[in-house]
């Protein structure tokens, strides 16, 4: 029954996953661009972000139209609302990938004050958390949502570590300050990537049982 209804929800879910894939791709590229100091790759990320923004808007429109025409209730309604809220968090994650790419481009011609170890780790973690959070939302997977949210701790400790390392370097040599502060800012943004992924997880839980949970 209500084939059209079920199809449309499924299609919206597909779009969410598509958007997540592009974001993950961008994070990966940004990571690589940062590590290999590839300016060209960085530029790709920035232009691919267009697609992410478009998807956010189109998913929003589809959700609104779905509510107007199909009048969903209960779990269907919660899911649509969760998707509506989650896409804006996803779009922010995409923006952070762009930050990373931009940093990569800016620093492409400089020599790094230290080999980048934790920042790439944060990017990879961010990519994984984003992927898992969206999967948890689309599949209604409570366990995945919780475990993904828990990984934010890792992100926080990585951020702390990066700050410590960079602080030490900056205190050591005044010339390191310019690059160091930029890298610090990048770390902060990447830490926020994790926060947004956690928000997506809480919307997943809302979709599943209607509760707001703080992690």
């Amino acid at each position: 029954m209500r084939d059209h209804f079920t199809q449309e929800i499924g299609s919206i879910n597909q779009d969410m996953l598509k958007m997540s894939v592009i974001i993950e791709e961008n994070i990966r590229k940004a990571c690589k661009a940062l590590v290999t100091q590839d300016a060209k790759l960085a530029k790709e990320v920035m232009s691919d972000d267009e697609k992410v923004n478009e998807l956010e808007l189109s998913i929003t429109d589809r959700c609104v139209l779905f509510i107007a025409k199909e009048q969903p209730v209960a779990s269907d309604l919660r899911h649509i609302v969760a998707c509506l809220k989650a896409v804006s968090d996803m779009e922010r994650i995409g923006d952070y990938a762009v930050h990373a790419a931009r940093r990569a481009k800016d620093l492409a011609d400089e020599k790094y004050i230290k080999p980048l170890i934790d920042l790439p780790k944060m990017l990879t973690l961010g990519e994984e958390m984003c992927r898992d959070a969206v999967l948890a939302l689309v599949n209604g997977d409570t366990a995945l949502a919780r475990s993904t949210a828990a990984r934010d701790q890792e992100m926080d400790s990585l951020n702390k570590q990066v700050n410590r390392d960079l602080l030490a370097l900056m205190l050591d040599d005044k010339d390191n300050i310019k690059q160091g502060t930029r890298l610090q800012f990048l770390s902060r943004f990447l830490e926020r990537m994790g926060d947004h992924a956690v928000t997506i997880c809480s919307w997943a839980l809302y979709s599943i049982d209607g509760r707001h949970e703080e992690f």
Binding site: M1, Q71, V73, A74, R78, G210
Partner: protein
């Protein structure tokens, strides 16, 4: 029986049979006073049957048999010393297809009150009743004209006016807007918000959105069994019973 305060209805182990067919099974629930409770469920689930049993309209169907208790102001309406005619005066009914009497608009509202021995100012009663159903402006110059000349939505509001003229405490509505256009439907739904301040309203509806819009509590029935009963917010936000979820999402029924 102290009839001063508007009462609700308490149902205990109600069973209704039509001959051999067991239409309603062991149903227990309470209808709260001055609230709108919606009975929802697919066709044939027993909600209209249950509704008709609340004011003993089922007595008019020879094969219908009701057991259990339906308690109104502390008295079971099915006790042998209870007169069904009296029950229907306190528990009124509005039907699916508007069915005003083939009389004038005024008579339609006045007749019920008159046969129940209303000794007050009849004209005032009629005017007040018609005003309360937001029909006054449309009929104030033609009270003596036949009621059947009104439009469907107007007729249905007239039927509601007729019911409240008798000053019942509970109003039963059996899909009151299913035969009406969206505008008439909206007018009647607005009415319910007002009416529930004075009456207890129990409405059977097929229209999920209507139940969501008008009711405070909802009861979901399936093949004669009460599957879930809770506030409308709960039922529509996060129903406990998966069958309820499936029905209101339109996955069956």
């Amino acid at each position: 029986m102290n009839l001063d305060n508007t009462a609700g209805l308490d149902l205990k182990n109600v069973n209704i049979h039509y001959g051999d067919f067991h239409a309603v099974h062991e149903l227990s629930m309470d209808f709260q006073s001055r609230e709108v409770t919606a009975l929802i469920g697919p066709s044939g689930c027993g909600k209209s049957t249950l509704l008709r049993s609340l004011n003993r309209m089922n007595d008019l169907i020879p094969s219908a048999k009701t057991t259990g208790e339906i308690v109104f102001h502390g008295k079971n309406v099915y006790d042998t010393d209870v007169d069904p005619v009296q029950v229907r005066r306190w528990i009124g009914m509005v039907f699916q297809k508007p069915n005003p009497f083939p009389k004038s608009i005024f008579e339609n509202v006045a007749w019920g009150a008159r046969i129940n021995g209303y000794k007050g100012d009849m004209e005032e009663l009629v005017v007040t009743s018609i005003q309360r159903v937001a029909l006054w402006d449309e009929v104030k110059d033609k009270l003596q004209k036949p009621a059947l000349a009104l439009s469907g939505g107007q007729q249905q509001r007239l039927c509601i006016a007729r019911t409240i003229a008798v000053q019942p405490q509970i109003i039963l509505m059996d899909e009151p807007t299913s035969a009406l256009d969206p505008i008439s439907t909206a007018k009647i739904e607005d009415l319910l918000d007002e009416l529930k301040k004075s009456y207890t309203i129990i409405i059977v509806t097929h229209n999920m959105q209507q139940a969501g819009r008008v009711s405070d509590k909802s009861a979901f029935m399936l093949t004669g069994v009460l599957e879930e009963f809770g506030t409308t917010n709960e039922i529509f936000f996060n129903p406990k019973n998966p069958k309820t979820e499936a029905y209101i999402s339109g996955r069956f029924g």
